[in-house]
Symmetry: none
Subunit: 230 residues, 2 copies
């Protein structure tokens, strides 16, 4: 690793070009010329064109991994702290975050790439939440909670990206509120039902019965649900 600063400059130049001319309209040769390096070096350092855009994100993922690995207390608390750390990494450099947000929103390929990035955070969270548990029940709980935390984080982050200057609570405060909501387990909106699955309004029928029930019993109940068909 000769100089990390060099890569920073390359990334900056690339993002500027992508922003001005469009992502696919800019070739790697253009970036090479603008950054003052060869195309070979570009691919050698970043691997692919997409990776130039997400170079610093990669570092962020690694720092989150380190953060979780170093934590010793409550896993849920550690994951919450990690979510805050990620959000702070965005909000602390609004120009960078907003430029990439515009870029990613405009190009489907980059959107997919960012999804993959998010999935890596989610995998880290899941792994940390299910540490040492072989129990599949716990694994389910870990996966669901990780997904919920990621969703909450992305909700707050997107809101901030859409309107960074908006008044009201800080992003961190909003995230804390959202995480509280998640951990409180109110995944179902208060108005909704949430109970066992009823028959759908008329388009779909979902029936769940213990298999202990006899065939005739099941048939009878389905018939009843259908409105007493013969």
């Amino acid at each position: 690793m000769t100089e990390r600063a060099g890569s920073r400059g390359v990334v900056a130049a690339a993002l500027r070009l992508f922003d001005e001319r469009g992502f696919e309209a800019t070739t790697m040769d253009d970036v090479a010329v603008a950054a003052g390096v060869s195309r070979s070096t570009l691919f050698r350092r970043f691997g692919s064109k997409d990776d130039v855009v997400f170079a610093d994100q990669e570092e962020l993922v690694e720092s989150v991994r380190a953060l979780l690995d170093a934590s010793h207390g409550d896993p849920v608390a550690a994951v919450r702290a990690a979510a805050h750390a990620v959000l702070r990494a965005y909000t602390s450099r609004p120009e960078v975050a907003l430029r990439r947000y515009r870029l990613v929103r405009a190009h489907a390929a980059l959107r997919d790439r960012e999804l993959a990035m998010t999935a890596r955070y989610q995998a880290l969270f899941t792994q940390h939440l299910s540490r040492g548990y072989g129990d599949p029940r716990r694994l389910l709980a870990a996966e669901v909670l990780a997904a919920a935390v990621i969703a909450a984080h992305n909700h707050v982050l997107r809101a901030w990206l859409r309107d960074p200057g908006e008044g009201g609570p800080s992003p961190a405060a909003r995230l804390e509120e959202a995480l509280e909501f998640v951990v409180a387990g109110r995944a179902a909106p208060p108005g909704g039902s949430g109970g066992p699955v009823p028959a759908g309004g008329g388009e779909v029928l979902v029936a769940v019965y213990p298999a202990g029930a006899s065939g005739e019993e099941v048939l009878a109940r389905v018939r009843a649900a259908l409105g007493g068909a013969p």
Copy 2:
């Protein structure tokens, strides 16, 4: 549309080649020759090499969208039914699902592509759960619940893909249990033992049908599923 069956055959030939020789080792020319069409036609029909692998998944996404659009009852119930429909689409054709599972696991590019696919389901769920609500609180709830449902579905699906012949409850039953866990809102595992998860001791029958089907048709299919009871 001349013949949809033609595309099916092309996909089958392509998947076979990808499976045998590897994904990136197989060129689109190879696929074209094996499928008996030109490379031009291949790109015209599927758009990209990845899309050949996920062609039928695309149809599944559309059917889920249609399912949700057509539903009128409780949004949460509709989303649960949709998750069941997706799972069933996999488990009803084990050979196809398992071959693609092997393929996707082996190649990073396809993994990312599948993540994008999952994200589309999640977006559909979110959209349906937050119908008509401008309230950001509701939007957060919808996003979190959608993410949790997806996580539960993927948990069950992955377990089945890893070991399709495993004994115990059916995939549908496992999903129902997992969804119950999600909707019950106990995302965070308490320190205690089992938790409030319903004891899914016995088998359960889960049936999902479009309501376009007549009552008799539904009864007939349930009867058939029960083993041809009179």
